[in-house]
């Protein structure tokens, strides 16, 4: 029988007792594994829980498995109808990019390089995204002991052979060129040696890889990357940036192609129609849905908006029942729960310790296995409880005793996080528990980021098929840039083509007919735009904001 994370309080070892055991236990023995990896996943990984899957009832991927909470959103009804668009004058552009994270900005920059005009619409502000929060690094096979083939094999194996080989081939093949592109834009990377001609890149190991392949900048790689990308796109006069403009619906033309989007201008509380030759959805993932009650490491905007929009206009989705729960989220204190501790900490040697002072899993096994093992410890009474929060210990004191210099240079984010937890990571281990981190599946794309709907492209976490059913550390920062640029380049080939015919919400009317047949017409509306605790309702916002 499965034990769920939010179920009744489970038996666990009090923090003070666990701390004492940890201090006195010599050598940290590894408890031998009692079950093969697949059994561990099936028994303890949240994806395998009974209530974690259902079948889609409508749409292009009808019958496919999907998480029920996500199914409600992507099978939701539209937020707007024809009447809302009456008397609105459209703005025209070549490419509309929806989403202001790494994938969206990479797409915008690539489309500009190809000569297209671009509007980039961000729900919050360009740069506010999971990209800026990424800590560990980006994979690229540059080492002597490494090859594109190894990167390819590791990625497929880590994803349980479920990824699309053509996408993985493109991912790993473009990786070195992406690093060069980032350096040309002005991004720094850590070097293994002093910065002299001939210096090599610092390479770290990631869970589930056969060679050290993680390139990084300190432990805030995403911040270094995003501030460079944001500056580059903000300085480009060919890109119009619309901050605080969430997309509420896509537009279709007479041929069923995607032909733009309807945005909500939060500042003026009014809808805006953007007519485009191609739309690139780069809206990110779904962590803020808190599937199965898990805390999340994701930023505020991760509410699966692009999935709902793409599915409604006819794109296919895949692996929508597969999510990554990052092994090391903060468990205590509760008000910081879900905050991420980078895999870099384990990559550098930190061990996971249960309430009995034992290690219980290879800390650098693939993330889904480490997560399942931590949840097993918690479910079977070997977890550690502090003020009602249950998790296991991350032995930072053990790591920092060996390498005391790490905190000031390489693990700046860890030092910052521990400080906010009120913990000295050199003396006291952190209490951690898996946190909802990444949507493995998403909209089906080809190697150019194109979906089944002409004119609609997807890049970044909203897209699926690149990582199969489990993503390796460092492959997300790579994926957003590779497929962001691919989508931008491919979409830009439509620049300057004539805009003909009517554009509107025909696909929404078609979708509503499908919902009616399936008995789902009275379901929720989507996209969500903000998490439940964001207190946002489109109609209420339009009404009150207009009152002034």
């Amino acid at each position: 029988m499965r034990t769920e994370p939010m179920a009744a309080p489970m038996a666990a070892i009090p923090f003070s007792v666990a701390l004492q055991t940890w201090q006195t236990m010599p050598g940290q023995p590894m408890r031998p594994s009692d079950s093969p990896p697949q059994t561990l996943l099936e028994r303890f990984h949240p994806d395998y829980a009974a209530q974690a899957t259902c079948r889609l009832m409508v749409g292009a991927s009808k019958g496919a498995r999907c998480h029920p909470l996500l199914a409600r959103i992507i099978q939701g009804n539209a937020l707007i109808g024809d009447v809302d668009l009456a008397a609105l004058a459209p703005v025209t552009t070549d490419i509309l990019v929806i989403g202001g994270g790494g994938a969206g900005v990479a797409a915008a920059l690539a489309a500009r390089e190809a000569g297209a005009d671009v509007i980039l619409a961000a729900k919050l502000r360009v740069g506010d995204s999971n990209t800026v929060m990424a800590e560990g690094g980006i994979q690229a096979a540059v080492g002597d002991d490494d090859s594109l083939q190894r990167h390819y094999d590791d990625t497929l194996k880590g994803g349980h052979q479920a990824a699309d080989p053509a996408l993985v081939e493109r991912l790993v093949g473009q990786a070195p060129a992406i690093i060069r592109w980032l350096i040309q834009l002005g991004m720094h990377f850590d070097l293994a040696d002093s910065p002299t001609p001939g210096a090599r890149l610092l390479r770290k190991r990631a869970g589930g890889t056969t060679a050290a392949r993680i390139l990084s900048y300190r432990d805030f790689t995403g911040l270094e990357m995003m501030r460079v990308l944001r500056e580059a796109v903000e300085l480009d006069r060919g890109v119009t940036i619309l901050n605080r403009h969430p997309a509420v619906e896509l537009l279709s033309n007479d041929h069923g192609h995607c032909a733009g989007a309807v945005l909500y201008d939060l500042e003026h509380a009014t809808l805006r129609i953007i007519r485009a030759r191609a739309v690139i959805l780069a809206t990110g993932g779904a962590g803020r849905l808190h599937l199965q009650g898990f805390a999340t490491s994701n930023h505020y905007g991760a509410t699966a908006d692009g999935l709902a929009l793409a599915y409604r206009i006819g794109a296919r989705v895949r692996d929508m029942d597969s999510f990554q729960f990052h092994p090391t989220g903060i468990a205590w204190p509760q008000h910081l729960a879900g905050g991420l501790i980078s895999e870099a900490v384990r990559s550098l040697g930190a061990k996971l310790i249960n309430g009995l002072g034992e290690r219980f899993i290879d800390e650098l096994a693939p993330r889904d296995l480490v997560t399942a093992a931590i949840l097993r410890e918690c479910a079977e009474g070997r977890g550690v409880v502090r003020d009602g929060q249950v998790g296991v210990l991350l032995d930072t004191p053990g790591l920092l005793a060996e390498k005391p210099d790490l905190l000031s240079r390489q693990l700046v984010s860890l030092a910052h996080l521990a400080d906010r937890c009120g913990i000295d990571p050199r003396r006291e281990p952190l209490l951690i528990r898996p946190t909802l981190h990444y949507q493995n599946g998403g909209v089906e794309i080809d190697r150019h980021g194109a979906t089944a709907v002409p004119g609609l492209y997807c890049a970044g976490e909203v897209a699926g098929g690149i990582h199969g059913r489990n993503r390796l550390m460092g492959n997300a920062l790579l994926d957003i840039l590779v497929f962001g640029r691919e989508a931008g380049k491919a979409a830009a080939t439509l620049a300057g083509t004539p805009l003909t015919g009517r554009v509107g919400l025909e696909h929404v009317r078609d979708w509503q007919r499908q919902l009616t047949y399936a008995g789902l017409i009275n379901g929720p509306r989507s996209p969500l735009l903000y998490p439940a605790y964001g207190n946002f309702d489109l109609r209420a916002h339009m009404a009150t904001a207009r009152k002034g």
């Binding site: 506010d128 594109l148 090599r200 930023h299 910081l336």
Partner: protein, 210 residues
Amino acid sequence: MDEIIHLRIDGRDVAVAAPASILQAAMADGTALTANVGCMGQGVCGACRCLVRREGEKQIATALACETRAEAAMQVSFIVYFTPDKPHRYDIAAIQDLWQLSDAVDRHFPEAAHCRHCSGCDRACPKGLSVQQGVALSVAGDFAAAAAIFEQCVMCNLCTLACPEGIWPNHLGLMVRRAIAALTLRPSDLIRRLNEIERGAMTPDATEKE
């Protein structure tokens, strides 16, 4: 059990169970939250910038709401993120060697040489960076030291907002950082791998499975 604290956020009286961040407190009264929020606790996106006055203090301080504890009787004003047109646009690819970097600083950030040393930027920085010194080092051509000062900048733009000369210090620091990376970073292992790929000597083969 949890203590309820009362504070004032953007003119609203808010009650929240402690411990909570200012950002969590701002959501507690049902107000729609559509701006000044991003990473929600990591302190890296700079979106939740605000002015804070603590009880009994006259001084107002800047803070990131996601990483600052809400305290009883605190007064908080969020600072809306604005995006004025960039006064000085540059193309990083046009700065072609380090001999030109001082010229680029003068050309794209001409106000930097007129710093009044008022320390407004230092006081505005929620990360405690020595912004003013970073500006001076950039003007003096000590680029490595300037780049180091701005290493942990989250681009919240509070220094840009605070500067009476319109220097845009964080953007100056970022240009210096970008130029150094773009002009000096030439990793030998990356160069070799790119050569191998361009020669066709290394391709991933989707069919050749073990």
